[in-house]
C-alpha cells in the first residue's frame, strides 16, 4: 500500500507556565492513499493536535510526519501554506468561517489566491454549494446560518481546491441526526471518489465508512483494525 500519510515516532508536548503537558508520544502509523481513516479517542486525547500536525498547521515536538512524500516537520511556512492550499482540505471543529465573508466568498477564497479564473470559481462555488445543499444561502453571512449549515460551508470550502487529503475534526459533533446524515453523505461521496480522508469522530455512521480505525488514548495510538 502506498502511504498518503506516514508518521514515525511522533511526539507533541506543550509547555505551559507551570507544567509540561505531553499530548502523545512516539506515534507511528500509516494511512494509505484513497483510504478512509477514522480517528477516535476521549476528549483531550490529542485528536485535533494530530490532525493539525498532519495538515502542517502545527509541528511535532519530535518525530516525522510525511504526507504525500513530503516531510512536513522540516518544511517552512511558505511551503506548508502552498502544500495545504493544493493538497489538503480541512474542516475545523469550530467551523472557522470568516465572519466578514459571505458563504460564497468563504468557499471562494482558497481558490482566489491560486488565481483561478473568475468563471471557473463561479461554477465551482455553485457546484460545491449544491453538493452541500446550500445554493440558496450563497449571499448570507456565517452568523446568519445554523451550526449545521456553517459546518456544510466549511466542507464546501475544504473541497474548493479539490484536495487529495481531506481532514475533518468532529464534523458531526455539534449537529442533530438529520444534519449529521447530510455530512455523512458528503463524506461517503469523498470515499467513492477515492480521496484520502481522515476524520476525528465518535459518530457511528462515520465509523461505518472507515477503512482504517485509529484510537488515541493516553498518548498512545491503537489500530483498531488489527
Amino acid at each position: 500500500m502506498k502511504a498518503a500519510v506516514a508518521a514515525s515516532l511522533l511526539c507533541k508536548t506543550y509547555l505551559t507556565e507551570d507544567a509540561k503537558v505531553e499530548v502523545f508520544k512516539d506515534l507511528s502509523f500509516k494511512i494509505g492513499k484513497g483510504k478512509f481513516a477514522v480517528l477516535s479517542g476521549p476528549s483531550g486525547s490529542g485528536k485535533t493536535t494530530l490532525l493539525n500536525i498532519i495538515s502542517g498547521i502545527d509541528k511535532p515536538t519530535s518525530g516525522k510526519i510525511v504526507v504525500f512524500g513530503e516531510d512536513l516537520s522540516i518544511k517552512d511556512e511558505d511551503f506548508l501554506a502552498n502544500f495545504r492550499c493544493f493538497n489538503i482540505g480541512f474542516v475545523f471543529q469550530s467551523y472557522n468561517l470568516v465572519s466578514t465573508l459571505t458563504v460564497a466568498e468563504n468557499v471562494a477564497f482558497p481558490m482566489e489566491w491560486i488565481q483561478k479564473q473568475e468563471n471557473y470559481m463561479t461554477n465551482r462555488i455553485e457546484k460545491l454549494l449544491e453538493v452541500v445543499g446550500l445554493q440558496h444561502r450563497a449571499d448570507h453571512f456565517p452568523f446568519q446560518l445554523s451550526g449545521g449549515e456553517q459546518q456544510r460551508v466549511a466542507f464546501a470550502r475544504a473541497l474548493a481546491n479539490d484536495p487529495h487529503l481531506f481532514l475533518a475534526d468532529e464534523p458531526t459533533g455539534n449537529l442533530d441526526a438529520k444534519t449529521s446524515l447530510k455530512i455523512v453523505q458528503i463524506l461517503q461521496k469523498l470515499k467513492t471518489e477515492e480521496k484520502t480522508v481522515i476524520v476525528a469522530t465518535h459518530d457511528e455512521q462515520i465509523f461505518r465508512l472507515a477503512d482504517q480505525k485509529l484510537c488515541l488514548e493516553d498518548g498512545k495510538l491503537v489500530n483498531l483494525n488489527e
Binding site: 495538515s55 501554506a81 470568516v98 465572519s99 488565481q115 453571512f141 475544504a158
Partner: protein, 620 residues
C-alpha cells in the same frame, strides 16, 4: 463578583488587547502633550528670538501658525482617543451580549465595562503624561545642544494637568455611550457582527479583484468593517491636515515672508548716500533681525544732501535703469482721530485716539520707488498729495483703523492710504510723496538715492565706475549694495522657520505611533480571519500583503482628503496672499511623499510581526 474584581480580572486575562489599548492611548496622550509642550517652548523660543525684532505682521504669521498647529495637535489627540475607545468597546459587544444572555443586568454590565474603561484610561493618561513630559525634556535638551533656540525650563505642568483631565474626561464620555448602547442591546443583536463590526454587504470590488487576491480582500475588509474604517480615515485625515499644515504651511509661509522682505527691500538695489547715512540706513534695515539701540542721528543735516553733480552722473549713466531719490528723516508723529458715521442711526463714533511716537519718514517719488511692498490699501500715486503709507508696526502700535485715519508729521496732516510690510526700522516707517515732504520741511535735496543697474550690463564694472565718479566729486559719498543686509534678514526668517519645522517632524512621529497602534488593534481584531486564511493555505506574506493593502487604502484616502484640506487651510487661513513657487510645490510634494512612505513603512512592522506567529496561536 464585585464591580472591581471582574473588570480587573477581565483586563488582566485579556493581556494582549488590554496592553494594546493602553499602549495606544498612552502614545496618543504622550504625543499630544509633547507637541503642546514643545510648541509652547518653540513659541517662547521664537518670541525671545524676535523680541524687539520683526514687524508685527511677521510676528502674527508665526503666532497664528503655532496656535493653529497646537489646536490641530489637540484635535488629533482627541480623535485618536475616540477611535481607540471605539475599537476597545466594539471588540466587547459580543461579550456583553454573552453576559446578558447569561442573565447579567444592564446596570451591572454598564458598571463592569465603565470600571474597565476608567482603569484603562486612568493608567493610559497617567503614563502618557509621564512619557510626554520626559520626551519634551529630552528633546528640548537635545535640540539646545544642537544649537537651536528652544527654551529649556521645567515643563508647564498646567498643560500636563489640562491634557490629563481633558483626555480622561473625553475618554469616559466617548466610551460611556458605546458601553451604554451595548448594555442596552438585545443579546441576539450583540452576537451579530452587523452590530459589532458595522458589517454590511457591498459589491463593487471588481477593480480590486483584478489587482489580485490581497487588494480584493483588503478592500472587502475595509468595506465590511465600515464604522472602524470610517473612524480611522477621519483620524488619519486630521493627522494629514496637521502634517500638511505644518510642512506646506511652514514652507509656504517661509517663502512668502521671505518674498515680502525681498520685495520690500529690493534685490540688487544699490544705495548711494553720505557714508554715515549709509551706515544709519543699513542699521535701520538690520533692526529686522537684530536688536539695535537707537542712537541720535540727525537726518536733516545738510551734509547728507546728495550733490547735483552726483545726480547728474547717475542720470547720465545708461546702464542705470531706475533711480529712486529719497529724503529720509525721523520725526515725531501723531495719530489723527476721526469719526465714523453709523448709517442706520446717523450717530458718529470716534475712531482712534491721539497716540504719538517717533517714526522714520521717507519721501519717495510715487511710481519711481524700487520697493514692491506687500500692501494693504493703496500705493502713493500723486507727487504733491498729502497722503501717507505707513509700516505695519506703526499701524498696529499707533492706530485703530489706520486706513480711515490720518497721521500728523511736521505739523502737517496726511491721510493714511496704505499699510506696507517693510523691514526698515522694523515697520516703524512712514512713506510720503517726496515733493510734499520737501515743501513742508524746506529741504529741497534728497539725502539718499537708490538705483538699479541693467541686469545685462557688467554689474561689477558699472558699480566700480560709479564709485570712482562719485568719489571724485565728494569722497564722503559711498555706494552700498543692499543685498548683504537683505540676505541677513532672509537668513533670520529661515532660522525661525527651521525651528518651527520641528513641529511637523514630531507630528509625523506621533502620527506614525498612532498608525502603528491602529494597525496592531486592527490586526488583533482580524486575527481569527487571518488565522483561518493561514490554516486554509495562505502564506504569511499573503497576510502581510492584505494588511499592507489595507494600510495603503486607508492612508491613500486619508492623505487625499487631509492633504487637500491642509493646503486649503494653509493658503486661505494661515498665510495671506501666499507665494507658491514651483520649487515650493516640489518641496512640499517631496516632504509629504516622504511622510506618507514613512507612515506606510512603519505600518508594516506590526503586520510582519503578526504574520510570523504560528497559526494555532493566531486562531487561539
Amino acid at each position: 463578583m464585585s464591580e472591581t474584581f471582574f473588570p480587573i480580572n477581565d483586563l488582566l486575562r485579556r493581556k494582549l488587547q488590554t496592553s494594546l489599548t493602553i499602549i495606544s492611548l498612552t502614545l496618543c496622550v504622550a504625543s499630544t502633550l509633547f507637541l503642546l509642550l514643545f510648541s509652547e517652548k518653540i513659541g517662547f523660543g521664537i518670541s525671545l528670538m524676535v523680541e524687539g525684532k520683526l514687524t508685527s505682521s511677521f510676528s502674527s504669521v508665526f503666532s497664528r501658525f503655532i496656535i493653529f498647529v497646537s489646536f490641530l495637535v489637540f484635535t488629533v489627540g482627541a480623535l485618536i482617543m475616540s477611535f481607540m475607545i471605539f475599537l476597545m468597546i466594539s471588540q466587547r459587544v459580543r461579550d456583553i451580549g454573552l453576559m446578558k444572555a447569561a442573565g447579567c443586568t444592564n446596570d451591572l454590565i454598564f458598571g463592569y465595562f465603565m470600571t474597565e474603561l476608567l482603569i484603562v484610561t486612568f493608567i493610559s493618561c497617567g503614563l502618557g503624561v509621564v512619557l510626554g513630559i520626559t520626551a519634551d525634556f529630552f528633546f528640548a535638551g537635545l535640540l539646545n545642544t544642537l544649537g537651536f533656540q528652544v527654551l529649556q525650563e521645567p515643563p508647564n505642568f498646567w498643560i500636563a494637568l489640562l491634557v490629563f483631565a481633558l483626555y480622561f474626561v473625553l475618554a469616559l464620555i466617548l466610551g460611556a455611550k458605546p458601553v451604554l448602547d451595548s448594555a442596552k442591546l438585545e443579546p441576539v443583536k450583540a452576537f451579530s457582527p452587523t452590530h459589532y463590526l458595522g458589517l454590511s454587504r457591498e459589491s463593487g470590488f471588481e477593480v480590486f479583484s483584478k489587482l489580485g487576491f490581497a487588494p480584493k480582500v483588503a478592500m472587502r475588509n475595509l468595506f465590511r468593517r465600515k464604522s472602524g474604517t470610517f473612524q480611522i480615515i477621519v483620524c488619519l485625515t486630521t493627522i494629514f491636515i496637521l502634517v500638511t499644515v505644518s510642512i506646506a504651511g511652514g514652507i509656504i509661509a517661509n517663502q512668502t515672508t521671505k518674498d515680502w522682505v525681498e520685495k520690500a527691500v529690493g534685490r540688487d538695489v544699490v544705495l548711494i548716500a553720505q557714508k554715515d547715512m549709509i551706515n544709519q540706513y543699513e542699521l535701520s534695515l538690520a533692526k529686522f533681525h537684530e536688536v539695535k539701540e537707537d542712537s541720535h542721528f540727525d537726518y536733516s543735516d545738510e551734509k547728507y544732501s546728495i550733490p547735483e553733480d552726483i545726480l547728474s552722473i547717475l542720470n547720465s549713466t545708461e546702464e542705470i535703469t531706475d533711480i529712486d531719490e529719497r529724503l529720509v528723516l525721523k520725526t515725531h508723529v501723531e495719530e489723527i482721530q476721526t469719526y465714523r458715521i453709523i448709517p442706520e442711526t446717523g450717530a458718529t463714533i470716534p475712531v482712534g485716539d491721539d497716540r504719538e511716537g517717533e517714526s522714520l519718514i521717507i519721501g519717495i517719488e510715487p511710481g519711481k520707488a524700487l520697493n514692491n511692498w506687500f500692501l494693504e490699501g493703496k500705493l502713493l500715486h500723486e507727487d504733491q498729495s498729502f497722503e501717507a503709507m505707513i509700516g505695519d508696526s506703526l499701524a498696529q502700535k499707533m492706530f485703530s483703523t489706520p486706513l480711515i485715519q490720518g497721521i500728523r508729521l511736521f505739523d502737517t496732516d496726511f491721510a493714511v492710504i496704505g499699510i506696507c510690510l517693510d523691514p526698515i526700522e522694523n515697520g516703524n516707517v512712514t512713506y510720503v510723496p517726496l515733493k510734499t515732504l520737501q515743501e513742508i520741511t524746506g529741504k529741497p535735496k534728497p539725502n539718499g538715492v537708490m538705483i538699479k543697474i541693467d541686469p545685462s550690463a557688467n554689474r561689477t564694472q558699472i558699480l566700480s565706475q560709479i564709485k570712482n565718479e562719485i568719489g571724485s566729486i565728494n569722497f564722503e559719498f559711498e555706494v552700498l549694495e543692499l543685498n548683504e543686509v537683505l540676505d541677513k534678514n532672509l537668513g533670520f526668517l529661515s532660522y525661525i522657520w527651521s525651528s518651527i519645522m520641528f513641529l511637523p517632524l514630531f507630528a509625523l512621529a506621533s502620527a506614525s505611533l498612532c498608525l502603528i497602534g491602529y494597525v496592531m488593534l486592527a490586526i488583533a481584531e482580524q486575527r481569527q480571519e487571518f488565522g483561518v486564511l493561514r490554516a486554509v493555505g495562505a502564506k504569511p506574506k499573503t497576510i502581510i500583503k492584505i494588511v499592507l493593502w489595507q494600510n495603503f487604502l486607508v492612508l491613500l484616502s486619508s492623505c487625499a482628503i487631509g492633504i487637500s484640506s491642509g493646503v486649503i487651510i494653509t493658503l486661505m487661513i494661515l498665510v495671506s496672499k501666499p507665494l507658491v513657487t514651483i520649487y515650493a510645490t516640489i518641496e512640499i510634494t517631496g516632504w509629504l511623499l516622504i511622510a506618507l512612505v514613512i507612515l506606510f513603512i512603519l505600518g508594516v512592522y506590526p503586520a510582519v510581526r503578526f504574520a510570523k506567529k504560528p497559526i494555532l496561536e493566531i486562531i487561539a
